[in-house]
Symmetry: C2
Amino acid sequence: MNIYDVSARAGVSIATVSRVLNGSPNVSEKTRIRILAVMEELGYKPNIFARGLGLDTMKTVGIMCSDSSDPYLASAIYFLERELRGCGYDAILSCTGASLSRKRQYFELLLSKRVDAMILAGSKFIEMNPEDNAYLTEAAAGLPIMLINCFLDAPGIYSTVCDDHAAMYETAGRLIRSGRKRILYLYSSHSYSGVNKRQGYEDALNAHGLPVRGELIRRCDKDPGQAKELLLSLDDSGVAFDAVMTSDDSLAVGAVKYAHAKGLAVPKQLAVVGYNNSTLSRCTDPEISSVDTKVEALCTAAVRSLMKILGGEENVAKKTTIAAEFVRRQTTDP
Amino acid sequence: MNIYDVSARAGVSIATVSRVLNGSPNVSEKTRIRILAVMEELGYKPNIFARGLGLDTMKTVGIMCSDSSDPYLASAIYFLERELRGCGYDAILSCTGASLSRKRQYFELLLSKRVDAMILAGSKFIEMNPEDNAYLTEAAAGLPIMLINCFLDAPGIYSTVCDDHAAMYETAGRLIRSGRKRILYLYSSHSYSGVNKRQGYEDALNAHGLPVRGELIRRCDKDPGQAKELLLSLDDSGVAFDAVMTSDDSLAVGAVKYAHAKGLAVPKQLAVVGYNNSTLSRCTDPEISSVDTKVEALCTAAVRSLMKILGGEENVAKKTTIAAEFVRRQTTDP
């Protein structure tokens, strides 16, 4: 007996049942009473997070990501699937792309498969406009939603995040202490994680009395060739910088290629720092110092939390934060 | 009504029902008669590949791969999931690792979820010993099995492969025509695809009257650092080579790093060719010429075949071969 049975018997959508469970005002009184009557008739108790204990489970978790071929997300999916399988759960994968309507559509599709929980991997699932997250907060009345590297403060939604702000704050501080005065920040996304990273960079500049310059904060797609071209064009237009911090290793690879193209000594004339500590950081000469964002630890912690929730435990942490680690290679000073 | 109902009613495993459907001799006459009686009783018709037409479908396909964080397999999973979803099918992902017992166990688990088909991505699912493939040929009586970049000649098993032999044959020919005499071949696996690649290399040497030298055929894990170290140690022990062909871009990155370490001009003193045309091939300076193995086309073709099979079409090609394409960058002669 679960939310889907209630929805079918009452002839309303799952979202509507969720709204009633959530106490949302966006349900007519007539519908609310009908749904409550069906719940009573079916003996339904909204103790749905403990489904894992009972028989009413498909032992299946939906995993959504924007793009499973992104190296960071590919690793996350690998670790999530491994941990879930270790707990006897199947993973249904859904790659949504970036559009909100597609994300909502695929989310509803997975819900209709009676998954026991949803895991949203990557920081692109929470929108700036709260209304755009309503489909998640409503669904979270019916099943737990785990966010990997993203955060939303709502009942039934649990986050496991890397402390991107601290990682960027420390990285920028390290560069500043080694004498860098004009640190270019190259990023690819305005996501939850993207915003924290940039804030860490800006806060470090402020803490060290350096100005935050708009001309040194640049967006670029995750592509080494595009990053290289962007830096060459900044150079052409007279923008000076002695270090490049990036939100992804692919951008740092572009910075090393830019240094090669201009004959700059790395790190003497240009320091470069990657992010995510992927294989890309070990492909260039010199190899790239990068921030290990601990994706395996994140995924393991998220599945551990999920199993507690499905097992009926209360007081599971709403937000688990894991520290990143700076991995020094050859593109930064000792 | 399907093979699972028959298995449950007859009190035998799915594999045993499959064996009866397959006409396998490894079933006792008593069991065979009992299963046939259950089929008759249930009105079961083994037209199971056409399930997609009927109601007896979960609209779900199992995807197995050894490691979803491998860049090639990550791309394959992305394209497979996208194509399946476009056809209204969910993808249950299972990352098996390399052990045969784990592959069998996960395969059976997915079968028990009543998937409509199985897709095995990557060339590591077919074993040398035919007995080790029996679980696949038996299951293929109950549902279609699609192999991506692998091949097994058995009823119900369909392959979509890249022509690795031709790709390597042409790559080696290209290097030989540009004057290379001692081409080192660096590979990571003895899989179906791995065997074809190596054979293409050897056949090209033979066709051009060059000797196949064991000392120039070396195995290495897919890791740039390990590949670099291996080449340095070959150099130390007096093994000479003027080109490096690889079965994966990660190994080619190692060859470029080796050239940097020894101060060799690329491609003048050392030509390097990667395989799979991944982002890694664009991270080094010089950028690496690589073989595009057309993973998107492979996955699209495999799902298109699968939909025909599930739609009840007959005469779907048992093997679809897609040509690779050489992408010249800066590590080979024009």
